[in-house]
């Protein structure tokens, strides 16, 4: 492997590290939401418009998984950087680009969720090693544990993004070159799948609230009408 792909991917790895950290550890300001992360990745290439198109598609998926307590969920920060970077690097209407980039992002999100579980287990191991000092009330032990956890999470996001880009960038080029479907069909397929997940997620969240299902139905009808008039 030459060094060039690594150097090209480095800025995205740094972005993925920062946004991966935001998911849970610091500052959880939702910089890691796909609509933000993919736009930022696109902007690094000079294509924020293509980045946000990918971000919107991934945002539909992300509506399904919120960081409730100890639940396990996909890690969208680094994944959206990967999806946004892959999609933004090719010209508009490139055959099959959105579906392949979205697939790469979804796989990265799943792997990212698994790395977060691993990190949490490592955090527990580090905490047990510091247990004697913490039990004695050492402030420096508590601070070191906290900063160590955040640093590890930062590295986790960076390494994940770098590895995903080095894996998926050549695959993306290879798959897109053999795909026989127009850019419009590719986009429509991703949007249909993502919107279905997003709509089901919204239903899951709001259906227990009194009258909310009627608000959703009214909104969908207005939205269908508005989308029809805009197209």
């Amino acid at each position: 492997m030459t060094l060039a792909p690594v150097l090209q991917a480095l800025p995205f790895a740094v972005l993925g590290a920062i946004l991966g950290l935001d998911v849970v550890s610091f500052p959880q300001a939702m910089l890691s939401r796909p609509i933000v992360a993919a736009t930022a990745a696109g902007a690094l290439i000079g294509e924020p418009g293509r980045g946000i198109a990918m971000g919107v598609a991934l945002e539909f998926f992300a509506l399904e998984s919120m960081p409730f307590g100890a639940s396990r969920y996909p890690e969208w920060g680094s994944a959206a950087v990967v999806g946004g970077a892959l999609f933004a690097q090719v010209p508009d209407q490139t055959v099959g680009a959105m579906s392949v980039a979205a697939l790469a992002a979804l796989v990265t999100a799943g792997v990212g969720g698994w790395t977060m579980v691993l990190l949490r287990r490592f955090n527990a191991i580090w905490a047990r090693r510091q247990q004697a000092r913490i039990a004695r009330g050492s402030g420096s032990a508590a601070i070191a544990l906290q900063l160590g956890g955040m640093t590890a999470d930062l590295l986790r996001g960076g390494v994940l993004t770098l590895a995903a880009l080095l894996t998926f960038a050549p695959l993306f080029d290879a798959v897109v070159s053999t795909t026989r479907v127009s850019g419009t069909v590719s986009r429509a397929t991703v949007v249909a799948i993502a919107s279905a997940v997003g709509l089901a997620a919204v239903w899951k969240v709001v259906h227990t609230t009194r009258l909310a299902r009627w608000y959703l139905l009214a909104g969908v009808l207005v939205g269908f009408g508005l989308a029809g008039s805009l197209s």
Partner: protein, 261 residues
């Protein structure tokens, strides 16, 4: 038998210096930095409290400081934003010299309500609402950075507001923090936000989909029909497979199909 009264001075008798509040606020942004499956955010609570505990008699490293740090590093799990209420309350209790047994009881009782209220208000309410607003703005033609700024500004008004308010309210009420949880925003807010989310998301999903696909009523019509059917399928399968996993499989099948057809 009546519960022992919590001895504490009037609210204005003990002020938390602004430097300490600022340090606690910054540290609370990283309260989940060492999150793990054993103590959850316990170490983070100690980390956020630490600047206040330095004000205890004996200062940093003193006997009370060490006992408090050890106590607060134990298991604690709540919503990360509303944990600020607990951190403020615990800081007040420690500096007021409340008996350790009472503090321990509070640490056991507080996480449940803080987690439940925070999850409903923020994760199930405000995040999807802000997301839907951003998706709608995209669909209506806002610029990429306009959408991003709208989303981040809307979300973080509540995010930062909750942390700042939580620390202040926790400090003001001390271990009687439950009074702060009776705030109408926390009590009634989730239901209002859920209804607003339902309406805005209902509009946003088709409009944002149209924004990505571009012009073409025939394609959009097919997509919206597929979305409706797909959403029903994902809802029916809820509990058996997560929607994003199912989507990954379907998308992988589609990519393979486009390669070999």
């Amino acid at each position: 038998m009546t519960a022992p009264a919590i001895a504490r001075p009037p609210a204005d008798a003990l002020a938390l210096p602004w430097r300490v509040r600022a340090a606690m606020l910054v540290r609370m942004l990283g309260i989940q930095g060492a999150w793990n499956y054993e103590t959850m955010m316990g170490n983070g609570v100690a980390f956020a409290l630490e600047p206040a505990l330095r004000l205890l008699p004996g200062g940093k490293g003193g006997d009370r400081y060490r006992r408090a740090m050890a106590r607060h590093s134990g298991y604690f799990n709540a919503h990360p934003y509303l944990a600020a209420l607990a951190v403020g309350a615990l800081a007040r209790a420690e500096l007021d010299g409340v008996p350790e047994a009472q503090i321990d009881r509070f640490r056991v009782a507080a996480p449940g309500p803080l987690g439940s209220v925070g999850d409903r208000l923020v994760w199930a309410g405000w995040v999807p609402f802000c997301s839907a607003v951003a998706l709608l703005a995209f669909g209506l033609g806002a610029t990429p950075w306009g959408v991003v700024l709208l989303f981040l500004a809307a979300y973080n008004v509540l995010h930062i507001g909750l942390r700042v308010w939580g620390l202040h309210a926790g400090w003001t009420h001390g271990l009687r923090m439950a009074q702060a949880l009776a705030n109408p925003v926390l009590r009634e807010g989730p239901a209002h936000v859920a209804r607003a989310t339902a309406f805005v998301a209902g509009i946003a999903l088709p409009v944002a989909a149209q924004g990505i696909i571009g012009p073409g009523r025939a394609v959009l019509g097919g997509v919206l029909a597929a979305v409706s059917a797909g959403a029903v399928l994902v809802t029916v399968l809820h509990g058996r497979i997560e929607g994003w996993r199912l989507a990954t499989l379907v998308l992988a099948a589609f990519v393979l199909y486009t390669m070999v057809r």
